[in-house]
Amino acid sequence: MSGYTPALKELIKRVEATRAARVEKARKGEHFPALTMEERQEWLRKYHPDYKKDGRRKLKVGPNKGLELPEEVARLLESKSRLDTKSIDLSRTDYTADLLVIGAGGAGTAAALAAQEAGLKVIVSTKLRHGDSNTVMAEGGIQGATQEGDSPYFHYLDVIGGGHFSNQPGLVAALTNDAPLIIHWLEGLGMMFDKLPDGRMKVRHGGGTCRKRMHSSGDMTGAEIMRVLRDEARNRDNDIKVLEFSPAVEILLDEKGHAAGAVLYNLETKEYYNVRAKSVLIATGGFGRLHIQGFPTTNHYGATADGIVMAYRAGVKLQDIDSTQYHPTGAIYPEQNVGLLITEKVRGLGAQILNTDGEQFCFPLEPRDVESACVIRECLEAGKGVVTPTGRLGVWLDSPMIDLLHGEGTVRKELPAKYIQFKRYEIDISREPMLIYPTLHYQNGGILIDEWAETSIEGLFSAGEVAGGVHGRNRLMGNSLLDVLVFGRRAGLKASEYAKNHKMGGKATLSHVDDFNKEIDNAGIKDPGVSPILLPDYAPDHVRERQVG
């Protein structure tokens, strides 16, 4: 439990041996050369898990039938509803609202606030507590072209280039155009941004950016955003009612096929509630807890892809859902920190990635998928990974360079949470490097939306990590916090317009769920699962064996 093992300490000496020369070069602005566009493609094809054939198969049902997906996602989408639709009495209504928001992370809360400002009554269904989400975990920062030498034009180029030009251009334009408005909105809500004494925002580079536009709040940017938005939602609790531990399990449609509400499930009393609403927003976040291909994940406990399951059954198409972001720097040591995200800020501040010989093998700020591919290649093909005592493979992230480049104490000041998280296990990351390997981080694709977060179903909106198209097949750091707020607010505004021009629909139905269940039977899927799964199951085998009857 105490710091690095003697064997690892021995290996760290190799990192130390090359450090002075590397720091010297970095001071002069000399970098390890970045890959060319052609090399990027080749590296990705050969080493990125998304491009591997095994562990993937074709989807047999629904609007994306035929698409090749990771087994875990395919199985989830081909599962039956957890609802016995016959036993739900849809004539009973437990709650009504103008807008029902499903998921109280950044996107859902931003939408609730925007809709409330436009005069709506909002109900928010959420699985855990308000704010227990991926948003609260974001550390590094949020992008926005707010400085004079930058503009949404260059931000657009970075986003679409980083996404290998597979993004929806309209969504990228909305994202980058609104970014300064979002940063300004947050400032007005009293968010504690990192600023210079005169109030100017401190900004940094992130992987794949041509301008420094990463805004931050220590290394708790997402937590600070979530705290502020949640606090503001609580100030408006006359109009925004939050139902915690009550996840949605199916969307309700009306006779015209428009969104009409949802069925919620109280995780504690095991009751189902019917919520009727004029408009519905799915903002349930990502799918990290599916542990695709067995990878550990950085995601929160509730990231189980419920939103895409519910929308898919209602007939909404998904985009790029076969694309998963592996964050290049997940901790692999000590065992207690496995999967834990080491923010890109560490590399933004100058820390380099090194193999077991203490040598650089890639530019440290490639787009994330490329960077991950580089690390996997170095470990699996070049055989220059470091092996941990529990048999995990990884490479070094040389954090001590940061203090050497920016002055003593920078690590503690700029990365306080990371510093504490390792200090707990007696590793001082301002003196010793970290061991890292790619970890399952982000759902690149998701529900197909337009610039106003509308789906193909009238009255049904989607925003945040659960939606697709904004980042294409690869997302750059700092654009997701931005995405969830831009499209969350846009969804809230559009939903208000919609709710004002529409009456509450007629009879609510779950017939789309029955139809989907039938489609599964007809496709001959044997032993389908049950979804949404709501929470992952981490019981060990010896417990499962006894959980009989």
């Binding site: 609104d178 041509c210 060990p540």
Partner: protein, 261 residues
């Protein structure tokens, strides 16, 4: 399931599969004994024992504050505290999580204070000024925040100090659960941080300007231009874009090409 087996051999995600020969230790979850492998966090140990969390688990990464936990070692009078997802389970720990604690949180309007931020604090949280200085909160905080000190700074009207001192707060509520003066420290601190961010921290002038430009529709035109372009041309622009040097001073550096700013 066949697939499960295949994946197990690769990695374990978050399910604990102890390495062969792992040492087992006894822990006591709400008084009941369980044997778990050593070096797990309390959270993973509790799951290893067979519990599945509904409450008391959120981020699993030490930042959401869902997993505040009290514990004692058998034979030790001292009451200790930590986050279940961050604290390593040790032999003879008697563990109780506190997933929820009622907090006092009066509503307020950030845009409409009745007086100065300090006066507003006094109006909303008069109990803060009754702190007896016992230090229990500071000893309890799993984030090692000097809670008593930020309360003292609030009393004195040093809202900047209190905002910065309380910044790492994950709002787990453990401090409030132990306060003899019945103060909900972390909610008062949340108010103070927002008041500081809004009224004391200087505003970003460049942001104000940029917002005007966005509202004028200037960038929509530039972006429409990009969207109308052939992908090949956008690719070229992407590859040729100029990179701001890492150590450039914010607001001072300007690119060579300024047409699209």
């Amino acid at each position: 399931m066949a697939d499960d087996k295949k994946h197990k051999t690769l990695t374990t995600g978050d399910r604990t599969i102890p390495p062969e020969g792992a040492k087992m230790i006894a822990i006591y979850i709400m008084g009941r004994e369980y044997m778990v492998p050593e070096t797990l966090t309390i959270m993973k140990a509790v799951e290893y024992a067979g519990y599945s969390y509904v409450r008391g688990c959120g981020c699993r990464g030490g930042i959401c504050g869902a997993c505040g936990t009290f514990y004692r070692y058998i034979g030790d009078y001292r009451l200790r505290s930590g986050l279940a997802c961050q604290t390593v389970a040790e032999p003879n720990m008697v563990i109780m999580q506190l997933p929820f604690f009622p907090a006092n949180r009066p509503g307020y309007d950030l845009d409409d204070f009745t007086g100065s931020p300090h006066e507003e604090l006094r109006r909303l949280y008069p109990e803060v000024f009754k702190c007896v200085g016992c230090g229990t909160c500071t000893r309890t905080c799993p984030m090692d925040i000097d809670v008593m000190d930020y309360i003292a700074l609030m009393k004195r009207g040093d809202l900047k100090g209190a905002a910065l001192k309380s910044f790492d707060c994950v709002m787990c509520g453990l401090c409030a659960s132990r306060c003899p003066a019945q103060i909900t420290q972390f909610m008062a601190a949340q108010f103070v941080r927002r008041a500081y961010g809004k009224y004391i921290l200087p505003k970003a002038g460049h942001l104000e300007k940029r917002v005007e430009e966005v509202k004028s529709g200037k960038y929509e035109k530039l972006l429409d231009g990009l969207m109308a372009m052939k992908q090949e041309d956008v690719k070229k622009l992407y590859v040729e874009r100029e990179r701001e040097p890492d150590l450039a001073e914010p607001g001072k550096w300007m690119p060579k090409e300024t047409n699209n700013l």
